[in-house]
Every structure is written in structure tokens, then in C-alpha cells.
């Protein structure tokens, strides 16, 4: 719920300058209080796919491998080592000194049980694509397993590090039944091996996690520092800011730019704008399915690319950590080619292209969007300067998604977060391989992506992704806009650093 904020923001800004008393509540009782707008009722990373559970998933659970956010390198976590066996199987040697939060030992049975449970479609894992590439898992010894893949899947390690957490064997076996008689897997009591263990949940209100004192010493996640970490749901941002300024909270995010900039002057909090994996883009109805056929003409699409001042939107509306993107991917993702044809902000060139396309008098079209209305309105303003009039249809995501897939949107302004997966297959292969989200159906792009998606040779993948991105840019199928950046605000007492994948590492956070 977004409420008018100018009055409150001004008040908070004035008062935050006056507040010199630092927020001590969390530090004094060694409890980091953080909040977000989403409710958390299910604390299981397979049966709750919100961002909150991605964060808590990494606190409470471990995967086989760990991705170093600085170097991008995959390091051992629950696995000590691994090797590919052909291009459709990976064999892992597991640690033998890890215990679950309930005191049981971690071994190969747990890996086999977890992977075979979650990769079974009937078990209803919410984000099935995180595990859909797994055929099954086999036990090779007490501490060694083999994961069989359905087909070569190069980003397997990115998924293993980000989204495939290990549960104890039998974890989902004795869950209560739902009203329809099916097992309610989401009701399983949360037990993992991670640096924090879930100690209390009040559905929809809070989740309390406590430091796992038995966490293995040489984990690449490090040793947990803060005693307790308490998540709360606070839907209204003004309320969350008030709690942060008065010590009721130690950490918040998604602070609107205007309020974040004012809060930055407060001595009680640190404010930082950090990049995320989410990108913004405009996609065209290239096939003319919507009834407005302007966008079948490449010159019109290119005119859009020249007409929109992306630098200005990035600088003035999004935040300093946001960057303009040339390709249909996030620059931090593997395979995201940057040296592709680009379109500078040049309204005159846009007008010339429109004239060439026989549209020198401009035209009117329907633009669909669902998020940050102000960003879309800036786009509309830029288009108006070259004579193009956009009629904005602002909808909820779940309603818009169907409209987009049916090809009913002449132009849609959307975003994509790639599930924080640092590989371009999580974005470009979703939109350009003739699937339901593909509004272009370009055979050449599909062919390049087919090679890249199915090869485990990094050089071959890079080369073919680049060919695909060049073709997408030449044809101007998308106007890649910018990377999202979000504002974080936290207590001065907290030693915290945001990461570019939108997964705050509370397990490495400590008090100053």
C-alpha cells in the first residue's frame, strides 16, 4: 500500500536531523531487527518463493556449493569437491563434519532425499525451474552423491549455490495433511544446516532466527556474529522509517529515493543505494499481434531507442547505483555481451527514423506497465517530444502477464530479476526461445541461444550469447533500459554491506 508521503517525508527529514540518540535497541539485546513489506508464513525456501525466503534460505540452510559474490567463483560448502561425469552428471564428495540444527549428521542420504523430493513435479515446489533440470540424485557412498541432469545445463552451479538447499532425510515425510488430503509440505518444521536456525515463527508477523553455535568453522559463509535476527512485516514504508529512526528496527530496504535522500542526513542511520539483478526494459509487439502494427517496422523500434533518455531516468529517478544497459541482460551476468549496437539519446535521429517509416506526424499507441509508474511516465514524456503519444495502461503484474503473453500489448514496460541467477540464460533464454514470453519468434536468436544454453564450454556459450544479443540489439526487439538499484537504510550500529544480488548477508553482519 503506497500512501501519500510528502508530508510525512518532510517531517521525518526534519526530525531525523534532530535525532541524535542512536538506535540502540537491537545492539543492546544482540538482536538485529529487520523488516520488509511482505508477510512470511512459510519458512521453507522450496515452498515460499518470496525474496524473504531467498534471504532466510541462505541463513538457515546450505547448498552443496557457495558462490563468492566478489569473484563469482564457486567454492565448496556442503560438498568438499566435485567433478563432471560427462555433460549430464556431476559427482560430489560431501563434508562429514556437518550437523543439522536438530543435531543429526548430514550425509549423502540427505542430498539424495532432498533432490529427489524437490525435482518431483508432483511435490509442488513453487519455483520449479530452480530444480527442473535435475533428473535425480544417487548415493555413491556415505558421503558421495551423483546428480543426474535431464540435459546439459551449464548454469547448474549457479542454481545449486542460490536455490538448492539441503534438508534432512525424511524431512517432508510426516507433514500434516491439507483439507484435500494431500500432504502439506510447507508445514514441515524448518531444519537446515545454515549459520542461523529458526527458533520462533508467528505466521505473517515475525520470524526469529538464532545463531547456530555448532556451525562448521571453515564455511565460506563465515561464522555468524549476531545472536538473534528477527524479521518483521511492516507494509507501510513511512512506518518502517519511523521505527528505524526510533530504534525499533535496525535495517530496512526498498526506501523510496526521495525519502532515502532525506534520511541520509540523519546521524542515526546509514543509507546506501546498491545495484540489484533486476533490469527494466521495453518490449515490442514485433509480430503485430496486438492490432497496432507500428512495431513490425524496425525503424520505429529504433526510433524509440533513440527517443528515450535512459541516462536521465537512471540518474534522476532510479538512483546512483543504477546503470543504463546496452543488452537484454544484466551486466553482472555471465554471457552478458556489452559490445552490441547501441542507441544514444538523439530525438532528432528518432524523428528522422519515424519520417523514414512514414510516421513523421507521429502516432498513438497503448503502453502497458505495472511497476514504478514514474519511470514509465518519464518514458511517455520522452516519446511525446518526438511526436509519439503513449496511452498508459497501468495494471497489476498478475493481470498484465496474461495480456503480454497473449500478444495484446503493443509495447510493454516490464522488469526481470533473473531470480538472482548470475547467468544470462535466466533472462534471455526466457524471452527469445519461442516460449510464451517470446514476442519476436526470431529463429536466428533461438538457434544461437540453443547452442549456448546446451553447451558446458564457457567460450562457446559466450560466443553464441553474444551473437544473440547483437541480433536482438540490431533488430531493436527490446529497449534495454537500466539496472534497478534499491535504497537500503540501516542503523549506524550495524556493520553491513549490501550485495548486488539483492540477498543481504545477515550471517556476516555484525555490530560495530
Amino acid at each position: 500500500m503506497r500512501l501519500p508521503k510528502s508530508m510525512f517525508a518532510l517531517g521525518v527529514a526534519a526530525l531525523s536531523l534532530a535525532i541524535t540518540q542512536n538506535a540502540q535497541a537491537g545492539k543492546s539485546d544482540d538482536t538485529l531487527n529487520w523488516a520488509s513489506s511482505r508477510e512470511v508464513a512459510v519458512v521453507d525456501p522450496y515452498y515460499n518463493n518470496t525474496r524473504m525466503l531467498v534471504i532466510m534460505g541462505q541463513m538457515g540452510w546450505d547448498g552443496l556449493v557457495f558462490r563468492d559474490i566478489e569473484s563469482g567463483e564457486f567454492k565448496p560448502l556442503l560438498a568438499k569437491s566435485w567433478k563432471w561425469n560427462g555433460d549430464k552428471a556431476i559427482e560430489f564428495e560431501l563434508r562429514d563434519d556437518v550437523k543439522f540444527h536438530d543435531g543429526t549428521d548430514f550425509d549423502a542420504d540427505d542430498v539424495v532425499y532432498t533432490l529427489n523430493h524437490v525435482s518431483n513435479k508432483d511435490n509442488g515446489v513453487l519455483t520449479y525451474r530452480n530444480v527442473s533440470w535435475i533428473e535425480n540424485a544417487e548415493k555413491l557412498g556415505p558421503h558421495s552423491v551423483r546428480i543426474n541432469l535431464k540435459k546439459p545445463f551449464p548454469p547448474a552451479f549457479a542454481y545449486l549455490a542460490n536455490a538448492v538447499n539441503m534438508m534432512p532425510s525424511g524431512h517432508y515425510d510426516n507433514v500434516p495433511k491439507k483439507a484435500d488430503g494431500n500432504p502439506d509440505y510447507a508445514a514441515a518444521k524448518p531444519v537446515g544446516t545454515g549459520p542461523y536456525k529458526v527458533s520462533d515463527i508467528k505466521a505473517g508477523e515475525y520470524v526469529l532466527m538464532e545463531k547456530n553455535d555448532a556451525y562448521f568453522a571453515d564455511s565460506p559463509k563465515g561464522t555468524p556474529q549476531i545472536g538473534k535476527i528477527r524479521f518483521r512485516t511492516i507494509k507501510e514504508m513511512n512506518t518502517a522509517i519511523a521505527e528505524l529512526l526510533t530504534g525499533g528496527l535496525d535495517w530496512i530496504w526498498d526506501v523510496p529515493k526521495e525519502q532515502a535522500e532525506r534520511m541520509a542526513d540523519s546521524p542515526a542511520v546509514t543509507v546506501e543505494n546498491a545495484k540489484t539483478f533486476r533490469v527494466s526494459y521495453l518490449a515490442f509487439d514485433v509480430l503485430g499481434q496486438s492490432g497496432q502494427e507500428f512495431f513490425k517496422d524496425k525503424r520505429v523500434r529504433q526510433a524509440f531507442s533513440h527517443a528515450i533518455n535512459r541516462e536521465s531516468i537512471t540518474k534522476n529517478l532510479v538512483g546512483p547505483a543504477s546503470v543504463v544497459i546496452p543488452s537484454a541482460c544484466h551486466p553482472d551476468q555471465f554471457g552478458c555481451a556489452q559490445d552490441v549496437p547501441t542507441y544514444s539519446y538523439d530525438p532528432e535521429k528518432a524523428k528522422a527514423l519515424l519520417k523514414e517509416a512514414g510516421l513523421e506526424n507521429g502516432f498513438e499507441f497503448d503502453l502497458y506497465a505495472y511497476r514504478e509508474r514514474e519511470f514509465t511516465e518519464a518514458v511517455i514524456g520522452d516519446l511525446a517530444k518526438v511526436g509519439i503519444k503513449a496511452k498508459l495502461n497501468f495494471m497489476q503484474y498478475r493481470a498484465l502477464r496474461d495480456v503480454v503473453r497473449k500478444g495484446n500489448t503493443p509495447v510493454n514496460h516490464m522488469t526481470w530479476g533473473s531470480y538472482s541467477i548470475p547467468d544470462v540464460s535466466a533472462i534471455v533464454s526466457n524471452f527469445f526461445t519461442h516460449g510464451p514470453d517470446d514476442l519476436t519468434k526470431d529463429d536466428k536468436v533461438k538457434e544461437y541461444l540453443g547452442i549456448a544454453d546446451n553447451s558446458i564450454d564457457p567460450a562457446e556459450r559466450t560466443e553464441n550469447y553474444k551473437k544473440a544479443f547483437i541480433r536482438i540489439a540490431e533488430e531493436a526487439y527490446w529497449v534495454p533500459m537500466f539496472t534497478y538499484a534499491k535504497y537500503y537504510a540501516w542503523s549506524k550500529d550495524l556493520d553491513f554491506s549490501p550485495t548486488p544480488d539483492e540477498i543481504p548477508r545477515f550471517y556476516t553482519t555484525k555490530w560495530k
Binding site: 500500500m1 500512501l3 501519500p4 508530508m7 510525512f8 517531517g11 521525518v12 526530525l15 535525532i19 508477510e39 508464513a41 512459510v42 515452498y47 518463493n49 518470496t50 513435479k121 508432483d122 509442488g124 513453487l126 519455483t127 520449479y128 525451474r129 527442473s132 483439507a179 484435500d180 502439506d184 510447507a186 508445514a187 508467528k202 505466521a203 505473517g204 508477523e205 518483521r232 512485516t233 511492516i234 507494509k235 507501510e236 513511512n238 512506518t239 519511523a242 521505527e243 529512526l245 526510533t246 525499533g248 497489476q396 503484474y397 498478475r398 493481470a399 498484465l400 502477464r401 496474461d402 503473453r405 526481470w416 530479476g417 533473473s418 531470480y419 526466457n430 516460449g435 510464451p436 514470453d437
Partner: protein
């Protein structure tokens, strides 16, 4: 009286069924619940999987029918998002919302009735205008704005009251003021009008002529009669407060039924939404029914008509 009661009961049941059908249809009109449940950016495969697992692939009429049959047997279903029986979640949160509603109503009555009495004693005086202004501001000022103002003063500036949660009675002060203030003008005007009418009646004149003390006349004889319509208004407004606490619960992060309703709409949690709408409409209908009965009991002309 029996015929009147049965007639009102029949209308109440029809209203409950209509509300339930409308709310079920409206969630589908606002988009695909499988997309909402699968989350933003979910693949087609994920969405199809969710649709199949949660039964959204059935025709809407079948889904509604199966929900209705279960509901009539006392089973309100299982929340798709919270993964818990809907009834247990609702009855866990209902007391918080009822407490907030009761506190808000108490605040409104404690503020509005004295204001109404004061205004009626000296009609059209400065005192009357001042009382009216206090009440009208409550209706004119959006509740979220008033709530944020309270947070700014009592929460941040003076640090007197906790901003969020339900840990103690102090947590309910600001939300009750914000929610209750909106009701003040209606109660105040009704009290004032009732008091003016009663104060000019013969039996009050007689009471004064008997030499009773002004306070006794005012509170024992006049207010007791003038307040009857306020009682029925308060009963109906209590129902409104249960359903209308969404904004206030959101601002003060109170984990009540209004907040649950808002969240359930956001994530298209059909069984939860249906049950909340049903519970709230039953409350509202029940309170309206009680108000009707009370009025009919107090004023025989209503039940004859």
C-alpha cells in the same frame, strides 16, 4: 415481530451469499491467481504447476461450488499462501481486530457524546461551533494522514508511544484514535440532534419544573433517551470498523483481520479472501440485524411498517 425478524433474517442470508459470489468472481477478474501465487517472474512451467497443484485448472463454478459445500460443513479451507487452515488463521487474528474496533468505538463515543451534549446545551453558540469543528475535522481528515501525524508526534518527536505491534495496551492508543476519529462526527451530530429534541420536550420541562438539578435532568432524563439512536449507529459502525481497519492495521503493522484481508487480496489467496469476506459480512449483517431488532423493539412503528 416474528414475521419481521424472519424477513430480516432472510435478507441477511441472501446478502451473505451475494457478497460471497461477488468476491469470488472479482478475484478472477483481477488476474490469474496462479500467477500471483507462483510469484513475479515465474516461468510458464511454474505457473502451470501451481495451477494444477492448487486446482485453479478447474472451472470457476466448480471451484466456487466445492468451496461453498465445504464452507457449509464448517470447513473454510486451507490458505494457499499461509499453508494453514483458514479458520484458525482468521480466529487467531480476529480478536486483535475486534479489540482495535472496540477501542476505536470507545474513543469515538467518549469524544463524540460529550461534544454532542455540550453542543446541544448551547445550540449555535461558539461552543457548539467549536464542538462541531472538532468532529468535522475527523471526517474531513483522511485516516492515514491522521495516523501518520500521530506517529510523527507521539512516536518520533515525543517518543511516548510504540509505533507498531500489539505487545501492550499502549500499542492500541494511536490506532484507536486514528480509526475512531472518523466516526466522531456522525455520533456527535446524532447526539446533538437527539439532545435538542429531547431537551425541548414536555417531560424535560416538567422535570425542570419539579426543581431537579440541571445535571440530573441532562444526564438522567435527557441523555438516556437521546442516546438510543446512537446505540444502533454504534452497532453498525462497529461492523464497519472491523472491515475498515485495513489502512490503520497496515500503517501500524497490526497483525489483524484487515491486514490479513489486504495481504490476501495482494497474493490472490482465494480461500482466505473468501473466508474473510464471509466472516466480515456475517459480522456486519449480524450487527445490522441486531440494530434493526433494537430499533424495532424500541419503536413499534418500524415493525408494523
Amino acid at each position: 415481530m416474528l414475521y419481521y425478524t424472519l424477513k430480516r433474517l432472510g435478507v441477511a442470508v441472501l446478502v451473505a451469499i451475494t457478497v460471497s459470489v461477488l468476491s469470488f468472481s472479482m478475484i478472477y477478474l483481477s488476474g490469474d491467481p496462479a500467477v500471483a501465487l507462483a510469484g513475479e517472474g515465474a516461468s510458464n512451467e511454474d505457473i502451470e504447476n501451481v495451477r494444477r497443484v492448487y486446482g485453479f485448472d478447474q472451472p470457476i463454478i466448480v471451484q466456487y461450488g466445492s468451496w461453498l459445500v465445504q464452507a457449509l460443513q464448517g470447513n473454510l479451507g486451507h490458505s494457499n499462501y499461509l499453508k494453514a487452515p483458514v479458520a484458525s488463521v482468521i480466529f487467531e487474528r480476529l480478536p486483535t481486530t475486534m479489540l482495535l474496533g472496540a477501542c476505536s468505538l470507545a474513543f469515538a463515543l467518549l469524544l463524540a457524546i460529550p461534544l454532542g451534549v455540550v453542543a446541544a446545551i448551547r445550540p449555535n453558540s461558539i461552543l457548539d461551533r467549536a464542538a462541531l469543528s472538532v468532529a468535522v475535522v475527523g471526517q474531513a481528515m483522511p485516516s492515514f494522514w491522521f495516523a501518520l501525524t500521530l506517529i510523527l508526534w507521539f512516536g518520533i518527536t515525543w517518543r511516548l508511544l510504540p509505533i507498531t505491534g500489539t505487545d501492550s495496551w499502549k500499542n492500541f492508543i494511536m490506532p484507536s484514535m486514528a480509526l475512531g476519529y472518523y466516526l466522531t462526527p456522525a455520533v456527535m451530530r446524532l447526539t446533538r440532534a437527539g439532545m435538542l429534541e429531547v431537551l425541548s420536550s414536555d417531560y424535560i420541562r416538567t422535570a425542570r419544573a419539579k426543581g431537579l438539578r440541571p445535571m440530573t435532568v441532562l444526564f438522567k432524563h435527557a441523555l438516556r433517551n437521546a442516546i438510543i439512536p446512537v446505540v444502533s449507529l454504534a452497532a453498525v459502525q462497529f461492523g464497519f470498523m472491523l472491515g475498515g481497519s485495513i489502512v490503520i492495521e497496515t500503517i501500524f503493522a497490526i497483525n489483524g483481520l484487515g491486514y490479513l484481508a489486504w495481504e490476501s487480496i495482494q497474493r490472490a489467496d482465494l480461500p482466505m479472501m473468501q473466508a474473510i469476506v464471509l466472516v466480515l459480512s456475517i459480522f456486519y449483517i449480524l450487527l445490522t440485524f441486531l440494530a434493526d431488532m433494537l430499533n424495532a423493539f424500541l419503536d413499534p412503528r418500524i415493525r408494523v411498517a
